[in-house]
Symmetry: C2
Subunit: 424 residues, 2 copies
């Protein structure tokens, strides 16, 4: 993948000599360490980068000076770390306050850090942006880059996010297996997939589905649409009557017309302990609990008494399973880490985000380019209308978009079921 150098504001073209630090932030992915290793192997080769530091647990490590020397890592260990899911440096969920940023810049000055790289989602991009602005205000010359990472695939600017392809691969395989399971023993099966605001990962449930074979998922519910329990039950019932079975993909973020999560509505309706944990903002906890799946299964059981109904919540398995990773995703995550260093030392930007775009052609290929932090920070990207189909499915345009990112999904196979001719 080539690095495309776009014209951007804040263009600079002078040499900046000093140490570099990298941190990891937010939820893990299967390839977040590919970006880290891509960064390390490139940064250690730059003359202008005097030291290559890692911050433990992201900005937290920078604030308190908890740094490690990444230049001392062996190539063999780096390769093993690249294959290891979840943030090798440790992660953090923290929106940096003004005090936090002040503490960070103090560390930058102490260690002569002139390059700051931060791997994560849109909050991470925002932190990089704030740090960049504050450093400029204090006259501390430095360059700040965001390297995208999220299984949610909901960042702007980039065509897709490193981490998504592997999670999509896992989800597609899980639905393939579960659809075979459901074919084999029949009944109604609800599977809850991560994604509070955007349906990208839930949509990946269809990527191993064959056409014309009655493969599941038969119904796909995304947060891009309003969830109507009555419609849901009617659609489940119709599918079950038609096929004698039904596999359903549900995003954890399904909600009513006012944006209220369905699980919260259900809990209030039923006065049930199934509501799960409520955080300090009053939001119900959607991940790390089976509550939503069990709530939907209960609804179906009430509507279709005696039917075998089961629910699984994919939970944390889908974001860091080391046994089923997309090679395309691995390569792109690695490339994004490398590209961030190249962009930073080029002198053309004082900050930016590394984004991916497709290269036109018959086979899938991508290249990196540099986008503006302000375009990524604070925003998320829902699935566009042309990736949706009807009330409970996704379009073939989505499949064309997402399938290459998984590294490819092999279709499942049926027996031919040739009829028996009687002897005699």
């Amino acid at each position: 993948m080539a690095l495309h150098v776009a014209d951007l504001p804040y263009a600079m073209s002078k040499i900046l000599k000093g140490a570099a630090v990298i941190g990891q932030s937010g939820g893990p992915t299967a390839v977040i360490n590919q970006s880290l290793v891509g960064f390390i192997e490139t940064a250690t080769q730059q003359e202008v980068i005097t030291r290559v530091y890692g911050a433990r647990h992201g900005v937290q490590g920078i604030m308190c000076g908890d740094l490690v020397d990444l230049a001392k890592e062996s190539a063999a260990n780096l390769e093993a770390v690249a294959q290891t899911p979840a943030a090798a440096l440790g992660s953090v969920r923290l929106k940096a306050s003004a005090d936090d940023v002040a503490a960070m810049i103090k560390t930058f000055k102490k260690f002569d850090i002139r390059y700051f790289f931060y791997i994560g989602g849109n909050d991470t991009a925002e932190t990089a942006h704030i740090v960049s602005l504050e450093a400029a205000k204090q006259g501390w010359e430095m360059r700040c880059f965001h390297i995208p990472k999220t299984i949610d695939n909901d960042l702007k600017v980039t065509d897709h996010c490193p981490g998504y392809g592997s999670a999509a691969r896992f989800v597609a395989h899980a639905f393939q297996g579960d659809d075979r399971d459901n074919r084999s023993l029949r009944g109604i099966k609800v599977n809850i997939v991560m994604g509070r605001h955007a349906g990208w990962l839930t949509a990946a449930s269809v990527l191993g589905r064959r056409t014309g074979k009655d493969d599941g998922p038969h119904l796909v519910y995304l947060p891009e649409r309003v969830f109507e329990p009555t419609d849901f039950l009617a659609e489940v019932k119709a599918t079950y009557e038609r096929l004698g079975r039904c596999v359903i993909a549900v995003s954890e973020g399904i909600h009513d017309a006012d944006g209220k999560p369905f699980l919260q509505t259900y809990a209030e309706m039923s006065g049930s302990a199934m509501a799960g944990e409520v955080d300090s903002h009053g939001n119900v906890q959607l991940s790390g609990t089976g509550a939503l799946g069990d709530a939907l299964a209960n609804l179906i059981k009430e509507a279709l008494p005696g039917t075998r109904v089961r629910a699984d919540t994919f939970g944390y398995l889908q974001r860091s399973h080391p046994g089923d990773v997309s090679t395309v995703d691995q390569e792109e995550a690695r490339a994004a880490g490398r590209a961030a260093v190249v962009a930073a030392v080029s002198g053309q930007y004082d900050h930016g985000t590394i984004a991916l775009r497709r290269i036109e052609g018959d086979t899938y290929a991508s290249e990196t380019f540099v986008g503006a932090l302000a375009d990524v920070a604070k925003f998320t990207k829902d699935m566009p209308a042309h990736f949706l189909s009807g009330r409970h499915d996704v379009s073939s345009a989505f499949v064309d978009y997402a399938l290459p990112l998984t590294g490819g999904i092999t279709p499942m196979a049926d027996l031919d079921f040739a009829p028996v001719e009687l002897l005699n």
Copy 2:
């Protein structure tokens, strides 16, 4: 793998010519179709086997004559089916009654079926046994063979069960990924693994754990031990205080000293809707719901207020994920299907179960042999005492036993975290 022909009761040595039928029963595995394909490719080459039939949905298909002609399958399609998880012929959960067996034998006579093969667990072996005895009583000469299959690994006679190695691989990888996730963001994580009566699959959670690296799972709760909620909370607390995090593997079948499932006790205690479904025998539903994980997470949250506690229930994902299958398990399942045909046409047995045993040597290898149906039917096999360690772990002997069956688990890697030396 060689087929070892042991001496057994019911030895026969005459030629029996007729059709063969095969069925699949019970919960799916990732390799149950390997056994089916091993059977088909061997049965179609036997002169004495006139037709090769498949029964849809096991004994149900035999009872109502719902058979397909498996000899018409192409080799290429069979190979694709072998790679496809869950019963390609459809499965069934049915203990055959006397009437059911009578209906089956009627079908055998109608289609001149002299060979019956049934892939499944101990109930399946029992069905094969009952059918064999009833056919003999009616003077219908036939041979009945059981081909083992279960992710639970709880069958007698065989060293291990086809299907277990792949499920164990998935569980080991899931815990590796989840342990990295927990290292990265910290907190307490409960993972519920299948296994109502035996802990084999939950024990597989340790197979990717390195020694001396504080890898999880840090606590492993199996149905082979009595589950004491008070001890559990004390152990979780101690681990969390020591490491600042804790990953816990829990079998769905944990129970009190009287054998009552913990989830049932919890539901009665809390009067909670979390109890989930109760079946016709009064047993609470353990699979296909997140209730047990959520119950344990709630207990921990009450004991350690403010701590980040999450629970995942691996559910059906662990038994039929097509993206992460053990090649050793695939080969052994295939070999068991082939061996069943060889044993049946050999004339040495009128019924039996195909079992696996290890071949002594430096590297793992196995061979099949024929065991007696009566030794498999009705029984299950718990983990032996020497595979357990202390109150909440498994032994290295268990790791030596189980690791080869997964096809191997690559260890995860840490950064070296070399300390930073300040400049000047």
